[in-house]
Amino acid sequence: MILAAFSAGNVLVWIVWVVAAFACLGSGIAVVSFSNPFYSALSLIGNLASLAVLYLLLSAEFVAAAQVLVYAGAVMVMFLFVIAYLGGRADAPWAGGPSWQALGAVGASAALLVEVIVVIGLKTSGRLSHSEQIDGFYGRPYEIGRLFLTDHLLAFEITSIVLLIAAVGGVILGSHSRESSVEQ
């Protein structure tokens, strides 16, 4: 009975994984292949949401919540504002330009994919099939916050400095472009 329930749960996890992984891959390809940037940004939102499901399957609850809040909530809204401001000009991915460049790009990324898959298959297949047991505190905000403020305090502070510099850079870029448009 317990074994049957466990295997049913296992099958459910596999189904959720397959759906999320294929949604992730399909929306990633859609981001690259849509000619309208607006549709690309919308597909990236789907990509980020399915990645959040994968993070939940890996019991990283806090990172999944942060992914949805930071990316889908803040970054993508900014992207959509900028695309709406610029008018969303269409840019066909395969039109124009010498075709050997596109072929070389496809070949380079396919070679990268094959290399990574081969290395994963050759070097790690035996060792990665076993995962450590985790307790209920794994991935909780309490544990993440404790690690951020004890073991990884330097990374936390550097992250805050990076965000501050990005905010200052955004303000400077915006004000410069306003002055130059007034001069014109």
Binding site: I29, V82, A166, S181
Partner: protein, 102 residues
């Protein structure tokens, strides 16, 4: 761990990274280049979180959160540059930006 092994997550992460690299290489609109960069960063994040789950430690999740903060900063600066380009009436085409003098 019930469900798929870490290897499957790593394959998805590798595929995402290569999709993003393809987008960075073939697209000419800087907006879509930025979106493809986000896909590459998310592929790396997925690999980090999968390895964190496999080793049973949470340091990989800390690293993934730092990567998300860096990605947000990169989007702020990149979108600022794109808006500045559009206000100077430059063509939004990364192939036509041959010099840094604008």
């Amino acid at each position: 761990m019930s469900g798929p092994d870490v290897v499957w997550y790593l394959c998805v992460a590798a595929f995402l990274f290569c999709t993003g690299a393809l987008g960075v290489l073939i697209r000419r609109s800087p907006l879509i280049v930025l979106l493809s960069l986000e896909i590459m960063l998310n592929g790396a994040n997925l690999a980090l979180i999968a390895f964190a789950r496999q080793s049973g430690r949470q340091d990989g999740q800390i690293f993934a959160l730092a990567v998300m903060a860096v990605a947000a900063s990169e989007v702020v600066v990149g979108l600022g540059l794109i808006v500045a380009m559009a206000r100077r009436r430059l063509d939004l085409d990364v192939d036509k930006l041959r010099t840094l003098r604008g």
